[in-house]
Symmetry: C2
Subunit: 310 residues, 2 copies
Amino acid sequence: MAFDRLIENIISKQNPTVAGLDPKLDYVPASIKNACFAEYGKTLEGAAEALLRFNTAIIDQIHDIVPAIKPQAAYYEMYGWQGVRALAQTIAYAKDKGMFVITDGKRNDIGTTMEAYATAHLGTTDVAGEAVDAFGADALTVNGYLGSDGIKPLLNVCKAKDKGIFVLVKTSNPSSGELQDLQLTDGVSVYEQMGRMCESWGAELPGKFGYSGVGAVVGATYPGQLAEMREKAPHTFFLVPGYGAQGGGANDAKNAFDKNGLGAVINSSRGIMCAWKKQGLTEDDFAVAARNEAIRMKEDILSVIGEIKD
Amino acid sequence: MAFDRLIENIISKQNPTVAGLDPKLDYVPASIKNACFAEYGKTLEGAAEALLRFNTAIIDQIHDIVPAIKPQAAYYEMYGWQGVRALAQTIAYAKDKGMFVITDGKRNDIGTTMEAYATAHLGTTDVAGEAVDAFGADALTVNGYLGSDGIKPLLNVCKAKDKGIFVLVKTSNPSSGELQDLQLTDGVSVYEQMGRMCESWGAELPGKFGYSGVGAVVGATYPGQLAEMREKAPHTFFLVPGYGAQGGGANDAKNAFDKNGLGAVINSSRGIMCAWKKQGLTEDDFAVAARNEAIRMKEDILSVIGEIKD
């Protein structure tokens, strides 16, 4: 089961974090951008090549200490199909370096269409008998608003191809409660109901560490709900955004973990990508700074959860 | 306001429908596929070129009688970045022929990331001072599970660039009720709450026909809820899936319209793309068959709603 692979990687590296690769062109050093624009012009192709070089430099620096990356699809789509090509190249590069890849796409649709998304991001596309990985991530974030038949096609692909999904439960943004915190007549909130659905869907994808292949996104910016959901969804592995730039700290993120330090992976995006700004380094040192920050973040979280054991 | 343009197009063509372009490779005639595979091999590139030729042939046949297309992002992503390039090319081709383009991506994320999606699909990407349309659709479908700060960045782009969004309210799939139909403690359902949020967000984007730039997706497969939401969300324009292959008929879709025959656009995807199968034609006649079906569908819907007036 895919999250077994992620958890093994977390234990062996003693690092329950994921590096979010959400590269805006503004984050890329002028030296890289100028080289790419000189080669491809000030075009989407030039921009996409700059993002790819930025990403691979970071992956080179962190792949031995960070178990996973989480590229955010939106930042690649912003640079057109050329940006989406850079996403595919980033995924392939990270997998080749042994990293677990979570594509953050928050995809959702009705059953037949969800099959297409599952094939695109986790499965294998059939081209007249040739089997091709279109994007080939290890896991995908999804939105469960459409209910079971928007999720079931993913479970089939996850089973067949050893992949996982993370369903949005309680998101990290300020207005997440507008819908997610509303109380239903049976006494649970909308986000808790979504957590129940994750536990139910996950029963089809059991894992050897007690966590299923259906994870949940729960933000570090809501530590109370994080603790609540850790208790109420004991088989659901959490992807936790909101650490760092969004305001969550290690003591908030701590609530995502079980007593063995398992059960969650904490994301940092801007904190990793823009780390040079806080370290008195130049922008050309962005990749080394990302490594420094990855080490600092790992130690910060381990200082509150202790050694990670299976 | 973007939906004013769509509504004008609907009135002038007397056709409140949108052609869903969700092309699976299986739908594309062997003659087109073989030509593309001969040129590009059995690759994602060959597959993507086949989808593009299929789409442009349909657009050539229907652009004078159908006001809009709705390409579904999943079916392009399934063919990798090459497929996503075919999506961009399809959007550009349809716009060039005067059609209104709704990209069906059901995108959703927190504020900063939603800005990136808004820029990608509706806005203009800044590449070192050069302004480039990454995908350039007229409207995008989105999922409101994250609340206002996942929607507000879209409203800014919609205002600046004359674009619109459709928010998922009550989807057409069998399990849509698992979350959407649950009752909240204040007596409304989750989907009705989402409809209220659409009315609220839409107040920022008023339109001259009484419909705002924030539309809603409400399925024809739930005609009761469609009638309910038409009444409760009077300023919200509806994108209605579920007609045809999913089981909804003209009498179901009728509930989406106001007394002037305005207020909604009805989608058909497989019904249009695979029309040749029901018309005793060969697969090479798929584009002419799509036109025949577009005319039949328009007449079917007009027969229950009457003339469309402003």
